[in-house]
Point group: C3
Chain length 202, copies 3
């Protein structure tokens, strides 16, 4: 099993948990929770594959992805008694997920021979679009447009990864370091309320 | 004309009517009603085709689909005086539509050589995504996440169809029986307020 | 540089400005404004390319599109002090954008050998879908479903363009005349409150 594939499975699993917990929190029914969990987990990679023309999209050729959502579903329901304590976990799962998917999407796009700029964008799309779809389906303004640094963490992690690869900086540790950077920036941003904005004039 | 093609046209027509009636009910203008009617009618099949890589998507190569929406439009406007009585019809048209599209999408996906699990999922996508898009465009939480059994009816109908095909159970009646199962489950679910949920703890 | 390419760049730039101004107006942060600007600018063409199977989608093979959004971003922020006066500009940029993109999308679809009906539809999709996505991401009912003539202006402009091409009417001026028609209809519709609707019975 390649590292990229392992990352993809791990990201899918943590995003499925993040989506299902959100749906339970919103009192959707079981089917709604399964749909939101699946969409959160594979939405970003699906849009990336569709835009790149990689169809049938990835999860159609490997039932493991659907299986992971199927495993996440009972885990979340059995653990829902702890849900008020799980708010922190939802955040951690989501943060780990964006780290994993950013590097995954970036690598897949580079492998198709597209430019590094597009690769970083597709990394961000892979990381954030599942959550955007989750929020749109819940009729909310997507999280990434609200205050905290989110897509920016993916952007910085993606750029660091590209530079490290170019310089052959940390050898086999590049992937791990870039993912850690995304997670760290996102964590610090939420912890300390970081916010990139231009002050509105008024 | 093959049975699959006939089902597709019938599903398109009933979904177009369902979408246009919804738009009239929401007091959208004529163009808005045409767009919502078209999106509701072809949205599910379009997403299925895009995910499967069947592009240009189906309705682009056969103007019959657009023509059906064009026919549905004046029918709905001429009949809008009866619209308060049509709420029941909207529901019936929608229910027949999901039955037809579930089997359609499932068959199309199997024909591409993908797994039965994916085929059932693409059946559900074909059936429900038109309505999901309609609801998102109207800035509402999609119907399938609200109480009644909806995607689940498609799931059960799809699985019955696959099993009947495998067992060669009812021969040429498989399609009809599976569609009838979807419609019946959905009808009974709404009639008796069925709901698959896990009781929230509190 | 072909005329079509120049039109596409011009449309991208004006839509990026329209999207970024909207995001600033809604007090999104810098990243949100960049995303909304990019989605508004390339959303219509992206959906068109995906539906037509032209993947990787257009802007992936030419970084000029991303560069234009990058140029539009500081321009909008530096000019945001004038934003109350820019409401009129937002409208003008948006109107010029739909004119340019309608003809662009139509021509691209005809070049793939699809029917003129589909070409006009893809012209409308190219013109309006960026704005639709912008509105969905902001959790609003899309502009095109609200009162004024919008998609209809694209429809009329597209049909005039097709007829003029068929009749070889104005020779090289066809594109310019059709774009001017879209802009003029849209401008007059907003100026005089035009509205295509069927009176609700009640």
């Amino acid at each position: 099993m390649s590292i990229l594939y392992a990352l993809d499975l791990a990201g899918t699993f943590v995003f499925a948990i993040s989506g299902i917990l959100t749906a339970i929190d919103k009192k959707f029914d079981l089917v709604g929770a399964a749909v939101i969990g699946f969409v959160t987990a594979v939405g970003g990679g699906t849009l990336r594959d569709v835009l790149l023309g990689q169809t049938p999209v990835g999860w159609m050729n490997d039932l493991t992805y659907i299986g992971l959502v199927g495993i996440a579903l009972p885990i979340c329901y059995l653990g829902r008694g702890y849900i008020s304590k799980l708010r922190r976990s939802m955040f951690i799962f989501d943060t780990v997920g964006i780290g994993l998917f950013t590097i995954m999407g970036l690598e897949k796009t580079l492998n198709l021979g597209l430019s590094p700029v597009i690769a970083v964008m597709m990394g961000i799309v892979s990381a954030v679009f599942g959550g955007v779809t989750r929020d749109v389906l819940c009729a909310e303004v997507p999280l990434i447009f609200r205050k905290e640094i989110y897509a920016s963490a993916c952007l910085i992690g993606g750029v660091i990864y590209l530079m490290a690869e170019q310089l052959n900086a940390f050898r086999d540790l590049n992937i791990g370091i870039a993912i850690a950077v995304v997670i760290l920036i996102r964590y610090l941003a939420v912890r300390f309320g970081w916010h990139i904005g231009v002050k509105p004039l008024n």
